[in-house]
Amino acid sequence: MKFSVYRYNPETDSEPYMQMFEIEQRQGMMLRDALLAIQEQDESFTFRHSCGEGVCGSDGVNVNGSNKLACIAPLTELKDPVEVRPFPGRPVIRDLVVDMSQFYAQYNQVDPWLQRKEPLPEQEILQTPEERDQLDGLYECIMCGCCSTACPSFWWNPDKFLGPQALLSACRFLADSRDQAGEERLDKLEGPYKLFRCHTIMSCVEACPKGLNPTKAIGHIKAIMLKEAI
């Protein structure tokens, strides 16, 4: 199977280029296995990866035009030759490794932690199974960045629009029956950019390797805002 891989090392390359590799495809191989095989051929080829099972979120890359997690992207589902590039819209550090600091900064913007105002009980804060169900589809995010770096609104305004990942996280806390900072959370999302630059293009939904739906979460936040306004 043939791979055309994005290469750039700021120390040695004046500009990025695509390099062809060929690897032997084995049964059950994921894209990450192919990238590792490429690395055995050329040790200078660099990408992030760790758990190999789609939970750590390290190895998000752009494959044949779509953002995917390499470790759970089967080669059998990819068109040969496979074009592998870093996430679009992020500064490239080297090869497939991009600078994600803006993405993380936007996550921090939504105060992504549970906030309580009442004193804490001695035991657990009670939550019914139905209340807990509201977190399904929100808490599972692995912060790989596939969604935000696939979002045209985030490409245009990465510093002002929070992006689908951060907004999904905001929704995760708004949806938690234990959280008591809903009003402040909504206030922080006011204005034309942070939330409202989402134009429901839904690239994020297509990109999410965990099957989550940030667009729906953003719609949910807007619905709460509307309800509060009335």
Binding site: R48, G52, E53, V55, R94, D111, W113, L126, R132
Partner: protein, 586 residues
Amino acid sequence: MALEKQRFDTLILGAGGAGLNAALQLANANLKVAVVSKVFPTRSHTVAAQGGVNAALANVLPDNWHWHMFDTVKGSDYLGDQDAIEYMCREAIPTVYELEHNGVPFSRLANGKIYQRAFGGQSQDFGGEQAARTCAAADRTGHAILHTLYQQNIRAKTHFYDEYFAVDLIKDDAGMILGALVLNIATGEPLLIESKTTLLATGGCGQVFRTTSNAHINTGDGMAMVLRADLPLMDMEFFQFHPTGIAGKGMLITEGVRGEGGYLINKDGDRFMEKYAPNAKDLASRDVVARSIVTEVRDGHGCGPEADHVMLKVNHLSEDVIAKRLPGIRESAKIFAGVDPVKDPIPVFPTAHYVMGGIPTDRFGRVMPTADDDGEHLPGLYAAGECACASVHGANRLGGNSLLDILVFGRLAGHNIIDYVKENKAHRPLNEASVEASMARLGRWDAKGDGMTVSQLRNEFRKTMEDHAGVFRVEDMMAEGVEKIKQVREKLNDVRLTDHTRTFNTNRTEALELENLIDVGLAIAVSALHRKESRGAHSRPDYPKRDDAEWMKHTLYWRESDKLDYKGVRVQPLTVESFPPKERVY
């Protein structure tokens, strides 16, 4: 260029559950704390823990911490230190409540309390009926906990050095640890972090084996740093092989699957665990289940064209239970085994999973540098989590006790560091010689020319470990393994990098990781060769019995001359009667 230096009250190496729970205590107490992690914190391997965390909350079935303690001592095959175990099992309860208050999205029972599931080796009333002690967030408990702890650290404004690789501990002539030399992975530049206290929370070393549930990053870095600082590792022969890795691949299928009612079958469809553990069956301790699977396969009862695995049957459970309690497993089985567990059984085989041994600490998380039973701890140096050995897991860890260990001892280390820094306000003078030695070790990788590649030697090493230090171990096989690994250690000198640039050079960090892996692998192999008994995960067909008279003691291994020494098990708990060794049956 002059070496850049930074000073902190506390340096934490590692940002998994242990490191982050310690950091949270310290940041809340306004200490100046630096957390160094070679990956962005939520990529740490705590994220992959599935089944849950043990605490005797008694939300589902009757329970108390004393029963939990009994199960843990028995599970450890009586090698665990009973003071540390008592502490952990008592602290489990407030620790889980604190996590919940911090925001962990635990699954819930109809009455609103935290959902708890049955796990292996758990009993009510000191060996009676099955207990349900494992607090779970579906089958993504580690993810839920790690993300919550990271979120709380954002709130507490903890100072993170993300994607910095810890190279070596820096120490002075008195043996005190002064901080660490770390490497900024993105720029390739070294940085010296001086600290009054240092906490090692670097996690496990499963990458020493070829087939493992562990992530690429689990290379035993902290353990190897300790070895290079002339400190010992304890009980490294005890390595847990999780019974149910996806066959041929190694990805974990949680014990929670069996806790929810799944069971193992061989090629004839027999539920073979009934034969090996008549009472607990599929929920016997992990060492027992792993050995049973290997035995079934060796006796020709394996499944598949190569007859090299067994099957984990789940399809008798309702699709609703699987969707609610085991969604991640269903996803993993589909992706990596190509089966939907709702319809077909999952092919499984034991996979290298967890090291019970590690950096010896007392029950306060303080590192213990000697084999002396009444020895003093090394002031200012702490270890917590999988890299440490308190020892709460002894010869075999119970499922659900790993998340518990990292959380309880991470938090405790945090509290003890706060006290230590109150008493010790000044930094000790820097020891330039130690910094130079570490810089020289880094510089060695600048050598050019022909040689083996990192991946060639790594493949050879991991295969050797798998062949010679696996589930069953006999004298000749292990002795040969030790010799081969020593040869691998020699061959390290012949390894050369092809990439000598500085920017995000993973070729270089993987070389440093390989050095760590080999040091830790040798600690495992040498410790294993010398323990002539079967206990917990250390199973020797040539010495099939546990030998309490001779071997109820901890192994200590030093890198220098591959020296071994031993120290006694702490059998006296804090407030209750000691559990004397008994035959261990499930």
